[in-house]
C-alpha cells in the first residue's frame, strides 16, 4: 500500500502466528521520514518477524501495514553477499544502473574502495557487514530495515560502524528500523527505542532519545547515556521476566 501520510511506514494492530504459535500481537508502530527507531526485546519475541512483515517479505495474519512501494533496504543478520561477485559488483547489485557515483561514494566512505576487486571471502566480518550496508544504501532506500546487523562484530569495529552508519544517515536521510540486542547501540543510533514483550511480542514501552546529532565523541561514557541504557535494560529485564 502506498504511503499517503507523513509516516514512511505504519503498522496497525499487526499480529502474526506460525501454525498455532502466536509470535506478534497488536503491534502499532509508525516511522517518520528520516527517523531511526530501534527495537529491543527478549529472544524469540518476534523482532525479526516484525521486520520481515514491515519489509513485505511476510504477510501478517492480522492488521495492516503501509510502506513505500519501492526502495526498501534490508540488512540481514548475515551479510548475504553474492560470493561469486566481487566487492564492486555486490555494491552495485541494488543500485540504479546510472547511480555509479553514489556507489563510489559509499565504497569510499565505508573504507572499501581499495578492496573493490576482492571476492567476499577475502573480506573480514566487519568489511562484509559494511559491504552489506553499502549495498542496501546504494539503492537510495526510503526505508532501511536492519536485523542485528552489527551483532557478530567486536566492540571496536561495531563502534566504528555505528559512526559510519550515522554519517550515511545524515547524508541520505532515510528512515530506519533497527532490531538489536545491544541497548547501547540502540540508544546511540536511534531517535526512539521500543521495548517489546516476550512472545507473542507487543510494544510495551517507548524511550525517546534526545541526544544531539551527530553524537558527541564521549557520549557513550556520559552519565545521561548510561542512565538511559540502565532504564531500558530494566524495562527489558521486566519483559524477559514476564516471558
Amino acid at each position: 500500500m502506498a504511503v499517503s501520510d507523513p509516516a514512511i511506514a505504519r503498522l496497525s494492530n499487526v499480529g502474526h502466528h506460525f501454525g498455532g504459535t502466536a509470535v506478534l500481537s497488536d503491534v502499532n508502530l509508525q516511522l517518520a521520514a528520516g527517523e531511526i527507531v530501534a527495537i529491543v526485546g527478549p529472544s524469540g519475541c518476534g523482532k525479526t518477524t516484525l521486520l520481515r512483515i514491515t519489509a513485505g517479505l511476510l504477510a501478517p495474519t492480522r492488521g495492516e501495514v503501509s510502506r513505500p512501494e519501492h526502495r526498501i533496504g534490508f540488512v540481514f543478520q548475515e551479510p548475504a553477499l553474492l560470493p561469486w561477485r566481487r566487492v564492486e559488483a555486490n555494491a552495485h547489485l541494488l543500485a540504479a544502473s546510472d547511480d555509479g557515483s553514489m556507489v563510489e561514494q559509499l565504497l569510499s566512505v565505508s573504507g572499501l574502495a581499495d578492496h573493490r576487486r576482492k571476492w567476499p571471502h577475502e573480506l573480514s566480518g566487519g568489511m562484509k557487514m559494511r559491504l552489506s550496508l553499502v549495498r542496501s544504501l546504494a539503492a537510495r532506500p526510503q526505508l532501511l530495515l536492519m536485523d542485528e546487523p552489527f551483532g557478530a562484530l567486536d566492540q571496536i569495529t561495531r563502534n566504528r560502524l555505528h559512526d559510519e552508519f550515522a554519517s550515511l544517515h545524515a547524508s541520505q536521510k532515510f528512515s530506519a528500523l533497527l532490531v538489536t540486542h545491544a541497548i547501547d547501540e540502540a540508544v546511540y543510533l536511534a531517535d526512539r527505542v521500543l521495548v517489546m514483550s516476550g512472545a507473542p511480542g507487543r510494544i510495551m514501552q517507548e524511550f525517546d532519545i534526545d541526544f544531539a546529532r551527530p553524537r558527541a565523541a564521549g557520549l557513550r561514557y556520559s552519565p545521561e547515556f548510561t542512565s538511559l541504557c540502565g532504564a531500558i535494560a530494566e524495562s527489558l529485564q521486566l519483559q524477559a521476566g514476564r516471558a
Partner: protein, 268 residues
C-alpha cells in the same frame, strides 16, 4: 632463505603422491603379469593374458592402429556429444524439479528407475526409438551420465540461502532474474561436482553403448570385445588405456573449467 624450501616442499607434496601411486600400479601390473603360469605360453606376445607394460605394443600393426584410431573417434564423438546432451538434459531436469515440488515428486522415482535399470533391458526400446547405431550409443551415454548432473543441479538450486532469496524478493526480481543471477551461480559448485562424476560416466556410456549396438564402425567397446575374442591382449589393453585416457581428459577439462569459473570465489 626459507621460501625456496617451502616451494620445493609444496611441489613435492603435489607431484610425489601421484608418482608413487603410478609406480605401485606399474609394479603391481608386472607382478601380476609374471605371476600367471600361462601368461607367456605363446612366446610371440599375441596370446598374452596380461601383457607386462613394455609388451603392450607388441602386435600393433598398421591395420590395428587404424582400427583403434577409427574406434577412438567413434567413442570420443559419442562421449562428447552424449556428455553435452546429458548436461542439457540433467540441468533442465534439475532446474525444473527445483521450481516445482510436485514435478520433483513425479519425476524423481522415474529418474532413479532409469539409473538402476540395466541398459540391456532398455535395448529394444532404444533401438526402436534411436536406431542401432550412433543414436543408440548416444542415448545410452545420456542415460548413464545425466543423473549426477540432475541431482546436483537440484541440490545446488535448493541450497541458496533464504537471506539471498529475500534480497532478490525485495528488488522485485523476475523468476528469470532469480534463476540466472542467483540460483544458477549459487548452484554452480554443486553442478560442477556433478559434471566431474558425469564426465567419467559419459565415457563409460559411450563404451557400454558400443557393446549393445553393433551397427556401423565399431567404437572402443566393440573393439575391446574383438581383441578379447582374438586373444590379442596387447591391443585390447591399449584400447582400454585409450578409453581411460579419454575419461581422464574429460575429467581434466571439467576440472579446468571449474577452476576458471568457480574456484576463484568458492570456499567450501
Amino acid at each position: 632463505m626459507k621460501q625456496p624450501n617451502r616451494r620445493i616442499d609444496a611441489r613435492r607434496s603435489k607431484y610425489v603422491p601421484p608418482l608413487v601411486v603410478l609406480v605401485v600400479v606399474v609394479a603391481g601390473w608386472y607382478a601380476l603379469a609374471y605371476s600367471l603360469d600361462n601368461n607367456f605360453a605363446s612366446g610371440d606376445g599375441s596370446a598374452l593374458i596380461i601383457p607386462p607394460p613394455h609388451q603392450l605394443f607388441v602386435g600393433l600393426n598398421e591395420a590395428t592402429v587404424d582400427r583403434i584410431a577409427a574406434a577412438t573417434w567413434i567413442s570420443l564423438s559419442t562421449a562428447v556429444v552424449g556428455f553435452m546432451l546429458a548436461i542439457v538434459a540433467g540441468m533442465a531436469l534439475g532446474i525444473a524439479m527445483s521450481v516445482s515440488r510436485s514435478l520433483e515428486s513425479a519425476l524423481w522415482p522415474w529418474l532413479i528407475a532409469i539409473q538402476v535399470t540395466p541398459i540391456i533391458v532398455l535395448t529394444p526400446i532404444i533401438i526402436r526409438v534411436a536406431g542401432a547405431s550412433f543414436g543408440a550409443r548416444l542415448t545410452v551415454t545420456v542415460l548413464i551420465a545425466f543423473f549426477p548432473i540432475a541431482s546436483n543441479t537440484l541440490f545446488g538450486m535448493r541450497s541458496v540461502s533464504a537471506a539471498l532469496h529475500d534480497v532478490f524478493t525485495l528488488t522485485q526480481a523476475s523468476r528469470w532474474q532469480r534463476l540466472t543471477r542467483l540460483q544458477l551461480p549459487a548452484a554452480s559448485p554443486a553442478i560442477f561436482a556433478g559434471l566431474r562424476v558425469s564426465a567419467g560416466l559419459a565415457v563409460i556410456g559411450a563404451i557400454v553403448g558400443d557393446f549393445f549396438f553393433t551397427r556401423g564402425t565399431p567404437g572402443l567397446g566393440r573393439l575391446i570385445t574383438f581383441f578379447f575374442q582374438d586373444t590379442r591382449s596387447g591391443p585390447m589393453f591399449v584400447t582400454a588405456l585409450i578409453a581411460a585416457l579419454i575419461g581422464l581428459g574429460f575429467f581434466v577439462v571439467v576440472s579446468l573449467l571449474r577452476r576458471l569459473l568457480v574456484s576463484p570465489w568458492h570456499r567450501p
